[in-house]
């Protein structure tokens, strides 16, 4: 496969890889590095790429595994991911109702979810994958995906309700 061909295959979903990586690793730089790593790995396998029926799914699974490995080794090395995506809440009490801010709440809520829930939410609610695709990507049973998704959505709702009632009261 030539470079141009490869790019044509990869371009449509490279953002999805990046967003999944960012969801898991949180930090922008880490996610960029991870995405680059995955793309290079794909490129090094480009001769056998025709054998995979779904390159996108394959790449997403690779990204997932790569990021989870990263996280595990970080924890083992007792290192915390450093990132600057937080905004200081106390600074802007009135601004909390602004759209920008509510997005960053959501970001933080998502960060606190367990990894499995993060991934399912990311794949379903952000990337709008079908259930069968998610099963394949995450190597999970359909029922497990549904349960995880429902839990994740409810967890987000709970946090939002908490925030919302703070905002009003």
């Amino acid at each position: 496969m030539k470079q141009a061909e490869f790019l044509n295959v990869v371009m449509p979903f490279k953002d999805k890889l990046y967003r999944l990586a960012k969801r898991l690793l949180v930090s922008k730089e880490e996610a960029e590095d991870a995405t680059q790593e995955i793309l290079l790995k794909l490129w090094s396998k480009n001769e056998s790429m025709g054998e995979y029926k779904n390159v996108e799914a394959f790449a997403m699974t690779m990204t997932k595994n790569f990021c989870l490995d990263r996280l595990k080794s970080k924890q083992a090395g007792n290192l915390k991911l450093v990132h600057s995506n937080y905004t200081d809440e106390s600074v802007s009490l009135q601004r909390q109702l602004e759209a920008e801010d509510s997005l960053s709440w959501m970001e933080r809520i998502m960060e606190d979810l367990p990894e499995q829930q993060k991934m399912v939410l990311q794949l379903r609610d952000v990337e709008q994958y079908e259930f069968e695709e998610i099963c394949e990507l995450l190597d999970m049973k359909a029922t497990a995906v549904r349960v995880t998704l429902s839990r994740a959505r409810k967890a987000v709702r709970e946090e939002l309700i908490k925030k919302h009632s703070y905002g009003i009261g």
Partner: protein, 139 residues
């Protein structure tokens, strides 16, 4: 869109039994102005999902053919090696020949030296001849 419908969809949504199309409907509802007050709390959620989808990977993909590079390096290495072996052999042979030449030369020199010594001794004979002539001439 009917509020009733949205509420039903929301309920299904939290049980994870909505389809992708229905979820799109929900997102569309929450992205517009005038969301019902009691549903306002869900708005950040759906808006967030929509905005999260906008994020892009902007870095250049460095696909410059690393592999090709290695390939050419190995070709170069093989070329250098073959040349090395070839010329190395030639050089060694030349060395050997030179050595043989030096040895022969040494042997010849030895020979020549001994010959020289021989002629030196012969020079004494000349002396004898001179003496002989002297005697003959005197008589």
């Amino acid at each position: 869109m009917e509020l009733d419908n949205i509420e039903k969809l929301l309920e299904k949504y939290f049980e994870a039994s909505t389809t992708v199309a229905e979820e799109k409907e929900l997102k569309a509802y929450f992205s517009q102005e005038g969301v019902a007050a009691h549903l306002e709390q869900y708005r950040p959620m759906f808006n967030y999902f929509s905005s999260a989808r906008e994020e892009r990977y902007t870095k250049q993909v460095p696909l410059k053919p690393r592999r090709n590079y290695y390939k050419w390096i190995s070709v170069a290495a093989v070329a250098v090696l073959t040349f090395g072996i070839y010329f190395g052999n030639e050089y060694q042979e030349r060395k050997k020949a030179e050595y043989a030449y030096q040895e022969t030369k040494k042997a010849f020199e030895l020979l020549a030296e001994n010959f020289g010594r021989g002629t030196e001794k012969v020079a004494y004979l000349q002396e004898f001849e001179v003496a002989k002539k002297k005697i003959y001439n005197n008589n």
